[in-house]
């Protein structure tokens, strides 16, 4: 069942990776098909031959890129990442079954995860490292409507059924001059439980607390529209339904050639690009202490910075600050360094964004502090 869900996505990434490595092969000869950013990177390889990790399915495609880079950079070393859901990632990590866990939300103190993780790390605190960021697109299918602008409040009203027509005065006010059709808005949502839905609903709650009163979670709670399974399902349903709108990972919206709405956070309409997403990451506040880089999602979702795209899915790797054996620590640090420096164009093709420089520095500082 799980294999199926993102089978298309994996295929896409595989094809994308092949294409990219084919395109980029002339300027990085000798780097074994890795990207140019990788060629100049110095990594201390060695240690454990196979790192094991599991958890969040949202970061699986990014992990595939990291795994490829890691294998190319460090001969004979690899990483096995199983997508099994964030909860499983954390529980397997605290049970010492895997070297690190991937999760959509950081360790929770209330659920006792912080303490359990500290126990697993032999008394040392575990760190949440935000490594994988994926923008979520508000993708729509309205013929001849190219520059739709929405904001948090409009999105909240559309996805909860308070706005039902494309030519609603509220949408028209945000899009002066655009010719909006007198058509029903068909909301398409994810019918399976997903981190994308969870982040999208958190975004709506943060950006438009008055308009979005439907709560959150991994299951869509807007109460309107039609649900489709998997990112592939929602993007193709949007593609085939006139007047449809959905929220979906960027790569799927691009591949289906759907219109992608600009988001107005109060400082003008922002188009979804790698740069605008990176800007939002740059503005993210860390609420964890020291090297525990737990992000304050309000600072991303509620960003008012000009040119920052607010709708991002941030996912973490949960690692021990100390308490690994020397071999594991060495391999883990090598892997995380490679991952933090993964090629921006490959990540973009898979629907993620590369870490901006200042943020990358914070992350690599934390990585090198792992002992």
């Amino acid at each position: 069942m799980k294999i199926k869900q993102s089978g298309a996505a994996i295929g896409l990434v595989a094809v994308g990776a092949l294409l990219l490595s084919a395109c980029g092969s002339d300027n990085n000869t000798g780097a074994q098909g890795t990207s140019s950013s990788m060629a100049n990177l110095s990594v201390e390889c060695g240690g454990k031959a196979t790192l094991s990790a599991e958890g969040s399915s949202a970061q699986k495609n990014a992990m595939d890129i990291f795994a490829k880079d890691f294998q190319a950079k460090c001969q004979g070393q690899k990483i096995a990442y199983t997508k099994s859901g964030s909860g499983k990632g954390i529980s397997q990590f605290t049970a010492k079954q895997i070297d690190f866990g991937g999760t959509d939300s950081p360790l929770s103190k209330e659920k006792g995860e912080v303490d359990k993780a500290a126990q697993r790390c032999e008394g040392n605190p575990a760190w949440n490292l935000p490594l994988v960021f994926g923008p979520v697109a508000l993708a729509y299918n309205v013929p001849n409507l190219n520059n739709l602008v929405l904001n948090g409040e409009l999105a909240a009203k559309v996805f909860s059924g308070q706005i039902t027509k494309w030519n609603d005065p509220a949408i028209a006010a945000a899009n002066p001059g655009a010719s909006l059709p007198d058509k029903k808005i068909v909301v398409i949502y994810r019918s399976d439980e997903s981190g994308t839905t969870e982040n999208f609903q958190t975004y709506l709650k943060t950006a438009a607390p008055q308009a979005w009163t439907k709560g959150g979670g991994k299951k869509f709670t807007g109460g309107v529209g039609e649900g489709k399974e998997s990112s592939d399902g929602v993007s193709s349903a949007t593609k085939s339904t006139d007047g449809a709108i959905t929220y979906v990972e960027w790569s799927f919206a691009k591949n289906a050639k759907l219109g992608i709405a600009k988001v107005d956070t109060g400082a003008g309409a922002v188009e979804l690009t790698s740069a605008s997403a990176a800007k939002a990451i740059d503005g993210a506040q860390v609420k964890g202490t020291g090297n525990d880089l737990v992000l304050d999602l309000n600072s991303i979702y509620g960003t008012k910075a000009a040119g920052a795209y607010p709708l991002l899915l941030a996912t973490y790797e949960v690692v021990c600050s100390k308490g690994y054996d020397a071999d594991t620590a060495k391999a883990l640090k090598a892997f995380l360094t490679v991952a933090a420096n993964a090629s921006a164009s490959e990540l973009e093709a898979a629907g993620y964004v590369a870490l901006p420089e200042t943020f990358k520095k914070k992350l690599t500082t934390a990585v090198s502090a792992i002992a």
Binding site: M1, G85, Y189, D192, E193, E226, A237
Partner: protein
């Protein structure tokens, strides 16, 4: 039919000799029989044990509620009425479409087709059973749904006054409805029903057929007076086997059906989820035992429905002594 057992009995009236081979074989067969009963009982008990804690914490009526909110284990609200409707409706559409076609194919293969053609055609039908259900799902939503859209819209427009053809709670254009699901399921259960009924029709006693022919029956009359009465019970059995497959089909329907929160209009253009597809949709993030229990409770209902359907079919079959 009755001559053979008598002959066996009369030859066995000598003092009974039980040889080791008999004992071993008997033990093996009864072992297999007991094993399957134990296995099914174990599945039932597992489902029940896992479902009960969640059912006790369900804040709405499990049988009548339309809610399915399971992400907060402290406030579970789940009911199966919509799942029941979609599951039963998709399977019913599938059965209505598949049984006449399967009957036609089986009769053609056993009564009308030349022997060589029959054999190769049978292989082709059996091949259908080997297609993975995900392929059927993708085919259904991406190829079949757009192709059948004009027909679906015509049903909506021209026959919409019949309640089951009225507009549903999802857009007809999207294709994620009971109608498309039913058509795909019909294709999926076709090989099962065909294969079983073909075997049964082929076993119509030659004496019956020859008797009918000797009385001057035409081919159609032979089929009507000998093949169909002889094979009726078996055909019902075959259809029930197909129905079981349709009720439990997961991936194809997960791919096709559009989920929705609006109340069903009880037409074949409704969307929603079946028991199995709802479980598949939730399975990516099974973290909490109570949440899982809610899904397992749905699975339990499906188990009971399948059980009831089969029991019903057995009673029908038992009524036909030719086959029982």
């Amino acid at each position: 039919m009755t001559g053979l057992p008598e002959a066996v009995i009369s030859s066995a009236e000598k003092p009974t000799v039980v040889r080791p081979g008999d004992r071993i074989f008997r033990a093996l067969t009864s072992g297999a029989g007991v094993f399957i009963v134990v296995l099914i009982a174990a599945i039932g008990i597992f489902l029940l044990l896992r479902a009960v804690p969640s059912l006790q914490r369900d804040n709405v009526n499990f049988l009548l509620s339309r809610d399915w909110v399971t992400n907060d284990p402290a406030n579970l609200r789940f009911g199966i009425i919509d799942l029941l409707w979609v599951t039963v409706a998709t399977s019913a559409v599938a059965l209505v479409l598949a049984t006449p076609v399967a009957l036609g194919i089986a009769l053609f293969l056993t009564q009308y087709a030349p022997r060589r053609l029959a054999r190769s055609l049978a292989y082709v039908v059996d091949l259908l059973a080997a297609v993975p259900s995900i392929i059927f799902g993708l085919w259904g939503i991406q190829v079949l749904a757009p192709t059948l859209l004009p027909f679906a819209e015509w049903l909506n427009d021209a026959l919409g006054w019949i309640p089951i053809f009225a507009l549903g709670n999802v857009s007809t254009g999207g294709g994620g409805n009971i109608f498309i699901s039913g058509v795909v399921l019909a294709v999926m259960i076709l090989p099962i029903i065909t294969a079983v009924s073909r075997e049964i029709f082929a076993r119509t006693p030659v004496t019956h057929v020859e008797g009918a022919l000797a009385l001057g029956a035409t081919k159609w009359e032979v089929v009507r007076t000998t093949v169909l009465p002889f094979g009726k019970a078996g055909f019902i059995s075959a259809a029930m086997l197909g129905l079981g497959r349709a009720l439990g089909e997961t991936i194809a329907l997960t791919t096709i059906l559009s989920a929705t929160d609006s109340a069903p209009n009880y037409t074949i253009f409704d969307g929603g989820a079946t028991f199995a597809s709802r479980i598949a949709l939730g399975s990516a993030e099974f973290n909490d035992n109570l949440t899982v229990g809610a899904y397992i409770a749905a699975g339990l209902v499906l188990f009971l429905i399948t059980f009831a359907v089969n029991a019903l079919a057995r009673t029908v079959v038992a009524g036909k002594k030719e086959y029982a």
